[in-house]
Amino acid sequence: MSIILDKVNFSYSQETAYKIQALKDINLKIEDGEFIGIIGHTGSGKSTLIQHLNGLVKATSGGIYFNGQDIYDEDFNMKELRSKVGLVFQYPEHQLFETTIFDDVCFGPKNLGLDKKTVELRAYEALRSVGFPEALYFQSPFDLSGGQKRRVAIAGVLAMKPEVLILDEPTAGLDPAGRDEILDLISKMHKELAITVILVSHSMEDVAKYVDRIIVMNQGSVMYDGTPKEVFRQYKYLEEVGLAAPQVTYLMHELHEKGLPVNLDATTVEEAKESILCALRNNEAKRLQ
C-alpha cells in the first residue's frame, strides 16, 4: 500500500504563451501510515502535486503507481483511486451544496454506488469522527461558522473511507483556536483510523508538531525530504526560499551560540523547554563543582 511518483513533470497551458512548469522531476515514495507534511511557499507546486495523487491532474510526463498499479493505465479504475485517496481542497467549505449537512456528507459515499443504509452509516460515522454536534446534522450547511463548515467538508471526504487523506491547507483562514482544533482532529484521525495523512501547509509551526516526515517544495521540485529535525537543521536554506523554521529552532541556535549546550534538534516548545532546563541544570552543577 504505497504511492510512488516516478519522474513526474507537469506544466500548465502547454504550447501557449502562458506555459508554466509547475512540477519538475518529482520522485517520491509515500508509505502506508505515514504522516507527511508538504511545505512550500505560494506557487511552489504543492497543490499541483497533491492533485496528481488522486488523478485529478494528469502528469505531462512520468508515472504514478498506486499499490503497484500504474494509474495512467487504460483500464485503471480512477473512481476507485479517488475513493482510496481522499483529497480535501483549500477552503473546502466552498464546495458544500446540499440542503442539509447530512446529505452533503452522503454525497461522496453515494457516488461510490453503495446502498442507502451503508451510505448513511458512513456519513454518520464520518460526522462523529470529526466531532460534529449531532443536533446540527439536519441544518443547512450554509448557516454554519467557517470552522464548522470545514469539519463538514472534511467529513464529506472521510465518509468515502479513504486509505490516504490529503488536506490542502486545512487551517487557512481559521483563528488560532480553530487551527489547533482542526490539526488535533487530523492527528487523532491519523492515529485512530490508521490512515496515511498528507498535510499541505506553509506554516512550519503547524507541521512540526504533528508530522513525522516533511517534504519541502521549491519552484516545482523537492528541495528536502526527511524528518522534521533533519529538515529544520537546514533552516538557513529554508529562509532563502521564503520559508522559516519554527521559532524554537532559532531560539535554540541563538542559545547555542551564546554558549548554552542545548539540543539543536528541538522542534516543539515542549522539547525546547526540556532541553533548556536540562542545560541550565548541567551548567549549575558545573558551577557548584
Binding site: 479517488r82 481542497f89 466552498h94 464546495q95 451544496f97 461522496g108 468515502m160
Partner: protein, 272 residues
C-alpha cells in the same frame, strides 16, 4: 475544455497592433464588419483577405491560437452553409427535391456566408486578443461619451462590462476548482444521459452561484469603501491619447473601406 474559449482572452505580445489606441481598434473592427457585409465579388474578398492576413501577421498572435475560437461555431457554420446551399433560388438549378434545390446562387451564397462568418470571428477575436479588457472598456467609454448627453449611463455600462470581463477567468478558475473538489468526492460530470448530466451539475452550480454572489458582495463593499460613486468627476490614471500610429491607422482603415466599395462597384463578379 473550458480553457479553449478564446473570446475575451488577451494574448500578450509586443506588436504595433497591441500598442494601438483601443478606440482605433474598435473603429477598425466596426469598419471591418461593415466591409465584410458590403463587399461584392472576388476582388473585394481578396482585399479583405489581404487586409486580415496582414493584420494577423503584424499582431504576432499565433494563427493556431485564433482558430481555437472557431471550434465553438463549427455547428453554426455547418447549419448556415447547408441552409444557404439548399434554400436559395437561382437561375441554374443543379438538383431539386421538393422545395430543396441546389442552384448556382445557392452555392455562391453558402460559400460566401461561411467565409463571412469565419472572417467575422477571426477579425473580432483579433481585437480581443490584442487589447486587454481594461483598455477595451476604456476605449468604449471614451468613444461613447457623447451619449451621456441623452442620459445613457455610459460609465456604469463600461464599469459593468469591465467587471464582467474581469470575472470570467475568475469564475472559470472557480468552476475548475469546484469540479475537481466534487470529482475528488466521486462526482461524475461526463457519463449518463441528458437528465443525469443535468442533475450532476447541481453539485457544481450551487457552490458556484454561492461564491459568485459572495464575490459580488465583497467587490461592492470594497468599491464603496474606496468611495466609488459612479463616473462623476472621476479622473484616469492613464488617459487615452492618440499617437502618430493611431492617425495612420485611421487613414489605412478608411482607405480599406473605400477600396472594398470601389471593388464592389467595379467588379461585382461572381455575385452580380
Amino acid at each position: 475544455m473550458i480553457r479553449d474559449i478564446t473570446i475575451g482572452q488577451f494574448y500578450p505580445a509586443d506588436s504595433v497592433i497591441h500598442k494601438l489606441d483601443p478606440r482605433v481598434k474598435l473603429f477598425a473592427t466596426m469598419i471591418y464588419i461593415i466591409a465584410l457585409f458590403v463587399f461584392k465579388g472576388i476582388l473585394g474578398l481578396g482585399i479583405i483577405t489581404l487586409f486580415l492576413a496582414g493584420i494577423i501577421r503584424m499582431s504576432k498572435v499565433p494563427f493556431k491560437f485564433m482558430t481555437k475560437g472557431l471550434k465553438a461555431i463549427v455547428l453554426l457554420l455547418i447549419i448556415t452553409s447547408v441552409f444557404n446551399l439548399l434554400a436559395t433560388p437561382g437561375d441554374i438549378v443543379f438538383w431539386k427535391w421538393g422545395s430543396l434545390q441546389i442552384t448556382d446562387k445557392g452555392i455562391i451564397n453558402s460559400v460566401l456566408m461561411t467565409i463571412r462568418l469565419v472572417y467575422l470571428i477571426l477579425g473580432t477575436s483579433l481585437m480581443t486578443l490584442t487589447t486587454t479588457p481594461n483598455q477595451l472598456t476604456d476605449g468604449l467609454e471614451t468613444a461613447l461619451k457623447p451619449l451621456n448627453k441623452i442620459n445613457v449611463p455610459v460609465h456604469s455600462i463600461a464599469m459593468m462590462m469591465s467587471i464582467a470581463l474581469r470575472f470570467i477567468p475568475i469564475l472559470i478558475e472557480e468552476t475548475d476548482k469546484i469540479m475537481k473538489a466534487q470529482m475528488a468526492r466521486g462526482a461524475d460530470f461526463e457519463s449518463g444521459n441528458l437528465i443525469q448530466k443535468a442533475k450532476s451539475m447541481v453539485p457544481l452550480l450551487v457552490p458556484l452561484f454561492v461564491s459568485a454572489f459572495r464575490r459580488a458582495e465583497d467587490l461592492a463593499m470594497a468599491m464603496e469603501a474606496r468611495c466609488y460613486n459612479g463616473g462623476e468627476g472621476r479622473t484616469k490614471m492613464k488617459p487615452l491619447k492618440y499617437g502618430k500610429c493611431d492617425y495612420i491607422s485611421y487613414g489605412v482603415v478608411v482607405g480599406f473601406l473605400v477600396l472594398v466599395i470601389v471593388a464592389a462597384v467595379l467588379l461585382p463578379f461572381p455575385q452580380g
